[in-house]
Structures are given as structure tokens and as C-alpha cells.
């Protein structure tokens, strides 16, 4: 069973006549990094939302076809159920972080899962160690750099121990050093056997991917090196 399987997925936003995703097919194997590129407004983030169950659970629209995570249809799962299987890091770290300390931010997910404090403590330490931010444990996330904030956003997802990770243009708002940190992190996670889907617009970041696909006219195709 593959961690991600998408079958005949079509999606159309309400008040929009065009299908942004049209009979899209995708299979991602365990431990694989798949990069998805495409022009702005082509539907990359929409695909991300479909993979993570945000569509249809949060955003409305006409969705047909199926997205399976470890063989289970996202329609049949609730978002908190999905959260333990799949973690998503969004573009803007400012809209993901809301706690007053890094520790609280990373503990938020495990606390929601009603884990005992000792287990939460272990997960927080593990996640912060993985992203190399343990020394900032008691810092205010707002006082960190963009790259560091994105690493905290990643740590807060990792503390839920999901086996699938989605990076929705997670490197678009950070500097070169921050990008390097995130890319190195992706390779580490791949080595741990996690499955990663990265949505990218910067072709320089694609070297970490095992496969690069391009989203065009609502479908995915192998990337030939040029977007247009």
C-alpha cells in the first residue's frame, strides 16, 4: 500500500467555471520525495489541500475522485485523524505559529492528542533536536529569523510523528540560509523513511527530489526542465 494515492481527482472552486485539477493521478511510494512544480495560480496549493484533506473538510468546491492516505479516503477521515498521518508546512510561518514560546508551539499537537506530559516532553525534545532548534526551546518564535520560524513550524508538525510530510512552497519566504536548513532537513527525513511531497516554484530546490512532476492543465506530468 502506498502512503499517497490519488485517483481521478478533479476539483473546481465555487464560482469558477474551470476545473483547476482535472482527472489527476498520483502515486507516491514510501520514503520518496516528490516535487511538484508549476506556474503561479496553476493549482499547486489546491493539490496540497486535497492531499491533506483540507479540501473537502475546510475549503468548499466540487471535488470528484479520491485521495487515499495509507489506503483510507480523506473524505472518511477527520482533520485531526489526518494530522497523525500527514503533516503540512505552509508557505508563511507567521500564519502557523501562535504560541509565546517555541516549546509551547511544538507541544501544541501532542497536547491535542491527549498524550501524557512525559511523552509530550520527549516528542518536543526529539522534534526540536531534529530541526536543530533545541537551544531556542524557550525563545519567542516571533523573535527568530524566517528560516528558523519555518523550522519551528516543521518541528511542530514533526512532534505529531506523521509519516507523510507536505511542504507547500515552504521555502518561498525565507533566505538562502533558511532554504539550506529546510532542504537538509528534508533529506534527513527521507533517510528516516518519511514520504515527502514538496510544492515548489524555485527550480534550484529540486535536487532533493527523487521525482519532479509538473502541474499543467489540471494534470501531472514528468517535468522536462522548463515550466512554460
Amino acid at each position: 500500500m502506498n502512503p499517497i494515492e490519488v485517483k481521478n481527482l478533479s476539483f473546481q472552486y465555487e464560482k469558477n467555471t474551470r476545473k483547476i485539477l482535472d482527472n489527476l493521478e498520483l502515486t507516491v511510494a514510501a520514503g520518496e520525495i516528490v516535487a511538484i512544480v508549476g506556474l503561479s495560480g496553476i493549482g499547486k496549493s489546491t493539490l496540497c489541500y486535497c492531499l491533506s484533506g483540507i479540501i473537502p473538510h475546510v475549503y468548499g468546491g466540487i471535488m470528484t475522485g479520491h485521495v487515499y492516505l495509507n489506503g483510507r479516503d480523506t473524505r472518511d477521515l477527520t482533520l485531526p485523524q489526518i494530522a497523525t498521518t500527514l503533516g503540512i508546512v505552509f508557505q508563511n510561518p507567521d500564519n502557523q505559529l501562535f504560541s509565546f514560546t517555541v516549546e509551547d508551539e511544538v507541544a501544541f499537537g501532542p497536547e491535542n492528542l491527549c498524550l501524557p506530559p512525559e511523552e509530550i516532553e520527549c516528542r518536543v525534545t526529539d522534534a526540536l533536536e531534529k530541526v536543530g532548534m533545541l537551544k531556542f526551546r524557550h525563545a519567542n518564535p516571533q523573535q527568530l529569523s524566517g528560516g528558523q520560524r519555518q523550522l519551528i513550524a516543521l518541528a511542530s508538525v514533526l512532534s505529531l510523528q506523521p509519516e507523510i510530510l507536505i511542504f507547500d512552497e515552504a521555502m518561498s519566504q525565507i533566505d538562502r540560509r533558511g532554504k539550506k536548513m529546510i532542504l537538509e532537513m528534508m533529506l534527513k527525513l527521507k533517510a528516516e523513511g518519511r514520504t515527502i511531497v514538496m510544492i515548489e516554484h524555485d527550480l534550484e530546490n529540486l535536487f532533493v527530489a527523487d521525482r519532479v512532476l509538473v502541474l499543467k492543465d489540471g494534470r501531472l506530468a514528468p517535468f522536462a526542465g522548463k515550466l512554460s
Binding site: 491533506s52 483540507i54 473538510h57 475546510v58 477527520t78 482533520l79 485531526p80 485523524q81 489526518i82 494530522a83 497523525t84 503533516g87 503540512i88 505552509f90 508563511n92 507567521d94 500564519n95 502557523q96 501562535f98 504560541s99 509565546f100 514560546t101 516549546e103 509551547d104 507541544a107 501544541f108 499537537g109 501532542p110 497536547e111 491535542n112 492528542l113 491527549c114 498524550l115 501524557p116 506530559p117 509530550i120 516532553e121 518536543v124 511542530s156 508538525v157 505529531l160
Partner: protein, 248 residues
């Protein structure tokens, strides 16, 4: 220095705030109100705050306080006139008392609220959760506190954008300026809604509201000094209420 050494539970601080602000509402006697204000300032100092700094900040509102006294005086019937203009009482003794009462209450409530600023926001939220307040409500408070500076920056960005288009807000007439400020509302609301939606999705993707309850990495524990302060608050509350009833 000793104040910093005493680390009070945020629930104790909340109790102090409730005691002092309740007294401010119940009491009408000016000298008792003044005592409560001194008590509130002492509490601010005790919890590690800066009462002098607070008073300096309140100085900015001096003009508003003077206006409040006049307005109270004009609309309060009865009492002996203190200042009359053409048989119209501008300031009466009763109005003056009411105005002063209002100012003292304002001072007390602001001072008592300053007690809470000495607690860490995270601890306040945890305190609320441990007081059996639903955690969704407690998180609403966190997010409101956390996003206020972001919203302020947003307003400043929009104002800068308006000024970069050649509108000098300082030089245009008041009515036109107010109209310009109205243009802020739409982009502000749009931006706030988008941020709120993105944040709520990010929270749900981290299992928020997965269960009706949630655990906490850090929990608060009341110490001896907390129980002592709460008992003291009870005592002071009762004492001031008894004194207020006797003075009546």
C-alpha cells in the same frame, strides 16, 4: 527585588484583580476608593510590576479625566454649585465627587489589570484552562494577544501604502482624513479573515479539537504563598466592605 523573588500563580493574580476591581465597583466613598487605589498599586509592586511607570502612563489621560469631571458635573443634578456661569452650574460639589469617583475607579481598574501583565501569557492561558474554562476560549485569548501587534503592523503598512500614493494624512482636513481611514477597513478585514483562516487550518492540521479535553506539557501548582495571598484578599475585601457600610 523581593517582589521578583515571589512567584505567584496566575490564578492568584487573577483573584487579586477580581478583588480589587470588585471593590472599585462597590465602593462610593472617595477616601476608601483612594485606599483601594493605593492597595492596587501596592499589589502591582508586590507582583513585580512598576506602579510609578503605570502612573506616568496614566498621566497621558489627564485631559480626558478633567473632561470626565466636567461632564459628570454638568449632567449630575443636585449638590451645591462650585462654579456657575450665567446661573448655569458648570461644576457642582456632587458632580465633582462623582467625577472623582469615576477617575479613581478607572485608575484602580487599570492598576489591577497591570497585575496580570506581570504574568506570562502562556501561564494565564494555562491558569484559565485549569480553572475549567474551555480550552477553545483560552486559545481565543492567546491568539488575540499574539495577533494584536501583527494587526497593528498591518494598519501601519496600509497607512504607509496610502501615503506612498501621495496622500499626506497630516495635512488633509479632518473629515477627509476620517474618510481616508475608512479605506483601511476593507483591506484590514480581508487580511484578518485570510490570516484567521490560514491559522485555523494550521491548527486543525495539528489535531486541534481532536478530543473534548487536552493534556498540557506544563501544569500550574498553587504554592503556600498563593493560598496566603488569596486568604489575604478575602480578608481585605471583607474589611473594606464593612468599612464602606459603616461610613454609609
Amino acid at each position: 527585588m523581593w517582589a521578583k523573588m515571589i512567584c505567584l500563580d496566575p490564578r492568584t493574580k487573577l483573584f487579586m484583580v477580581l478583588t480589587v476591581s470588585s471593590l472599585a465597583v462597590f465602593i462610593t466613598n472617595l477616601s476608601l476608593l483612594l485606599c483601594v487605589l493605593l492597595l492596587a498599586l501596592a499589589a502591582v509592586a508586590f507582583t513585580g510590576g512598576n506602579p510609578l511607570g503605570l502612573l506616568k502612563k496614566l498621566k497621558k489621560f489627564l485631559l480626558i479625566f478633567v473632561v470626565i469631571v466636567f461632564v459628570q458635573s454638568i449632567f449630575t443634578k443636585g449638590g451645591q454649585p462650585v462654579w456657575q456661569v450665567l446661573n448655569f452650574t458648570v461644576v457642582s460639589d456632587l458632580g465633582l465627587v462623582r467625577g472623582l469617583q469615576m477617575i479613581l475607579r478607572f485608575f484602580i481598574i487599570i492598576s489591577s489589570a497591570a497585575i496580570m501583565t506581570t504574568a506570562k501569557p502562556r501561564e494565564i492561558i494555562q491558569g484559565l484552562v485549569q480553572c475549567k474554562i474551555p480550552y477553545e476560549l483560552a486559545f481565543m485569548v492567546t491568539i488575540a494577544i499574539r495577533f494584536l501587534p501583527i494587526l497593528r503592523d498591518e494598519v501601519n503598512d496600509i497607512l504607509t501604502a496610502i501615503q506612498l500614493r501621495g496622500v499626506n494624512l497630516k495635512q488633509i482636513p479632518l473629515m477627509k482624513r476620517l474618510k481616508t481611514y475608512a479605506y483601511l477597513i476593507m483591506p484590514m478585514i480581508t487580511s484578518v479573515l485570510l490570516k484567521a483562516q490560514e491559522l485555523s487550518v494550521a491548527m486543525e492540521m495539528r489535531a486541534f479539537r481532536a478530543y473534548p479535553r487536552r493534556t498540557s506539557l506544563r501544569t500550574l501548582k498553587m504554592q503556600k504563598q498563593d493560598y496566603l495571598i488569596i486568604a489575604l484578599c478575602f480578608f481585605v475585601f471583607l474589611l473594606v466592605v464593612v468599612l464602606a457600610l459603616k461610613i454609609k
